[in-house]
Structures are given as C-alpha cells and as structure tokens.
Amino acid sequence: AQSVSQHNHHVILSEAASLELGCNYSYGGTVNLFWYVQYPGQHLQLLLKYFSGDPLVKGIKGFEAEFIKSKFSFNLRKPSVQWSDTAEYFCAVNEGKLYTDKLIFGTGTRLQVFP
C-alpha cells in the first residue's frame, strides 16, 4: 500500500529563514504529488503539484518543490519564510490513474514562524 512520510512534525523558524520540509512516498509506479497547506482556521488548499515534466515545481506564495524520482521524495522549499506562512503543511500522493484519484496524505508538518 502507498504511504507518505513527513519526517518533520513541528518546525519553528524566524522570519527570513529558509525552509525545507521533507516528504517521501512509497509507490513504484507513476504518481502525482501535491503539497497542501492549512492556515489557522481555514480549510486545506493546494500549494503546488507535480504531474509530469519539469521536476522543479513552483507554487503560490514563493513555494517550490522538487520531485526526485530516485529518492521517492518531493521536498517543499521556500528561501525566506514570513510570519504569514505559519500553518500546517501536508504532502500527498495519488496513483496517477484516472478513477483512482484518492489522495494519500502524510501526517503533516506544523510550521511556526516568529517575527
């Protein structure tokens, strides 16, 4: 069965620090990869996704992620975080087949950014 691992459960940073959140998945076939964000009091929203093509994906709010197939990884990065990036971040994968588009989520990483 597919699984997604997020190794950082809680990350605390100061503003302007660089961010990298780890995500590894276990599935040998074609996958689509996603990062979702949940700001305090809000619902889950898509930050970025990898479907095919360039493995370096750019998303909203200055976030990017790199798909490294040989490492089964899809780490999220941001060069300089802001206080407003305080949120919970979820990595997710699906199998890349139509009609089986269920997302498998990691346990999430809680990011706190202090001014």
């Binding site: 619902h43 979820f90 890349g96 089986t100 588009d101 269920k102 997302l103 989520f105 999430g108």
Partner: protein, 115 residues
C-alpha cells in the same frame, strides 16, 4: 463562486446514534471525495464518487459507514451506531474529475464528536 460547503460544521452525538453529514461540491465538479482527519494525522481517504456512482469505497472502515450521491451533486455520509473512535473531522473535496491529477478543492469539514 462558492467553494465546497459542508453541514453541519459541528456535530455532537451520543455513542450508538446515527448521523448524517452533508457535502455540497463546487458546481460542475463530477468527482467528490470524503476524507476523515483525526487529531495529529493527515486526512485519510474514505470514498470517491464519479458522478452518482462510488468509484472507490476502499477507505470506508466498516459497514457502519455509507455514502450516497443520488443526483451526482450533493453527497451524504451516513454513520450508523456511532462509536467514540468515529470522532474526527470529516472532510469533503471535489474536482472536475476529467483528468489525472486534478486539484481537489476541500470544504471546511464537519467536526464529529461522539460522547
């Protein structure tokens, strides 16, 4: 431009009771998903509808859980003989459903508490 809506936002019930949770997807979205999120965990897939039919119900934990989408729009998740372990946030998501890797748009969730 309404997003996915879910009602009620909170539901408190007693062990053994029956509950219904409602999801109203984005207009025109043919795919609808139910997930469950327990404290400290990522969302866990329950069931996926393509139109009126359940394309994948492999995530339903047992036969106390059932979901319908009779007209291909609104969906209802039904839980019989609720147990304390059913307490969680139940999330609904919808997508266009016409291609791989579609973005799933999430609703705010229903927080179910079973006493």
């Amino acid at each position: 431009g309404a997003g996915v809506s879910q009602t009620p936002s909170n539901k408190v019930t007693e062990k053994g009771k029956y509950v219904e949770l409602r999801c109203d997807p984005i207009s025109g979205h043919t795919a609808l998903y139910w997930y469950r999120q327990s404290l400290g965990q990522g969302p866990e897939f329950l069931i996926y509808f393509q139109g009126t039919g359940a394309a994948d119900d492999s995530g339903l934990p047992n036969d106390r859980f059932f979901a319908v989408r009779p007209e291909g729009s609104v969906s209802t998740l039904k839980i019989q003989r609720t147990e304390r372990g059913d307490s969680a946030v139940y999330l609904c998501a919808s997508s266009l459903g016409d291609r791989e890797g579609d973005e799933q748009f999430f609703g705010p969730g229903t927080r179910l508490t079973v006493l």
